[in-house]
């Protein structure tokens, strides 16, 4: 694996190689080179299988961290390739030409995080949130409870109880005023 880490650093300036397990490592690359890195890993590195692609919202440093997990079946090794993109302008190169299922992950990230992948097929179409009007729901600053309270009306006659208060009233009725 050290050979691969050295090669990725030499070719693409990859950094922060970390071995999580003997069959799982991670590495960080620049977002501008992500497609080149993934194409090289697929064509020359033997990492031909894309397990999944997704994103993590690191709102504290105003960045989305994209993670592409590839697997080299010959070596029995998986590699998580990370890249950070600007959270206020989240755009990154599409990899739909590298893997036939990649456009689905990109369509999901567009809908869930608002990350754009120019050129990716059907990237602007709804994925699982049909008729969704709100902001991207997987962002950390999206408060689902607040959105729900503001968007949907309570059904008339329905009684709801906060679970903590409800349990207290059942278990310690004398303590609840």
């Amino acid at each position: 694996m050290n050979e691969l880490a050295t090669e990725l650093t030499r070719r693409y300036g990859a950094r922060d190689w970390r071995d999580q397990r003997k069959d799982l490592s991670s590495v960080v690359v620049d977002a501008l080179r992500i497609r080149d890195v993934l194409a090289w890993l697929k064509d020359s590195g033997g990492y031909r299988h894309l397990s999944f692609a997704s994103a993590v919202d690191n709102i504290e440093r105003n960045a989305f961290t994209l993670v592409y997990t590839l697997r080299n079946h010959d070596l029995g090794h998986s590699l998580m390739v990370h890249c950070d993109i600007d959270r206020s302008n989240p755009t990154v190169d599409s990899i739909h030409l590298l893997w036939g299922q990649a456009w689905t992950y990109q369509r999901e990230m567009k809908e869930w995080f608002g990350i754009d992948f120019p050129g990716s097929p059907r990237v602007d179409e709804e994925f699982v949130l049909e008729g969704w009007q709100g902001p991207p729901m997987m962002r950390r600053d999206f408060d689902s409870r607040k959105y729900s309270d503001e968007t949907y009306a309570e059904r008339p006659g329905r009684v709801t109880s906060d679970p903590a208060t409800h349990m207290k009233s059942k278990m310690y009725p004398e303590a609840v005023p």
């Binding site: 397990r21 799982l24 064509d43 397990s51 999944f52 993590v56 893997w99 036939g100 299922q101 689902s144």
Partner: protein
Amino acid sequence: MKREKAYIIPPAERATPDLASGKYLVMWQGPQHPGITGNMSLKLVVEGDSVVDCETHVGYLHRGFEKLMESRLWMQNFPLVCRIAVPEPDFNEYCYAAALEELAGVEVPARSVWLRTMTLEMIRLASFLMWIGGQAGAFGHGTIAQWSVTMRDYVLDLFEELSGGRIYHMYIIPGGVRADVPKDFFKHLLDTLTIIEKNLDDIELVMFHNVVFKMRAEGLGYIPKEWVDTYGITGPNARATGIPRDLRKDLGYLAYPQLDFEPITCTKSDAFGRAELRLAEMYQSINLIRQMVDKMPSGAIREKLPNPLYWKIPAGETYVSAECTRGEYGFYVVSDGSDKPRRVVVRGPSYTHAVSVMERLVRGVNIADVAGLMVSLHTYPPEVER
């Protein structure tokens, strides 16, 4: 390093039929349809009775699991994860529990490792039994579906005996398993396996030698070997192309390295070949369970964990995967050191098989065979939507 030629698909392969010509008809199959596994829609463009184009529509079972998990404690998420894939919840339990254990540095006792492996094989068998009923039913063989669902119920009886739950077991928990096996459980298990094995012999005779099933399934949904990496195809769909790729063997997780088995492959790679392969894997699961009953070690079943209400997992990330009935099932878990997950991503094999592969394979297929094709890919939409 050896350089290999990349297999890159052209960007736009979809047909562009002129819908105003009156030659085509747009029809929806699903979300509520006997030929659709789970709740999912196929928007089909048909010419006569042949499919020209297809768009998949998911989202009918989106319950926001991944978002919800970010606002619940690590252990509070446990009853959620098993609900992501209904027919085989135990793979979710295992992947989530193993990810937590890896990040928290928890070692689980040997007996719990074997019990985990045994339950995963039991649910594999139950899920395949449900699948073979669907596959036979899609081609008009309702009797086989009734047999196989009965056999699945026998396995669910065993789960009820083991865990108290028939569908959602919550048996594999972080630190080990929830309880040891009850008295005489292994005897009941072996007796049930004998009954199921006999029934599988009958199914093999009635289904796989039936001319209707053979004529409709042979050649349907052929997957070329080159597609496996291009589309991220895993599990029996990949092994049916002749590639011996099985995470149980490749990753060697749980007790699998100590069991005697080899990945089963075939080269037909159509609906019939995939069905034959899955039938062989059902016999293989029975064999693995018998081996485990023979070799089951004794000892503790659970490692003591911190108070779940105050359990903070050290910062880090990991990806844990396992071979489920449909292929690679995985959990990517990120912790920021707090008492709640920062991010959880569920990787289900249907994400690939039910969307990209299905859209590609269905072109040119007769409308009546769309259901059979979809079942032959063994897809569960809930794991696409999470």
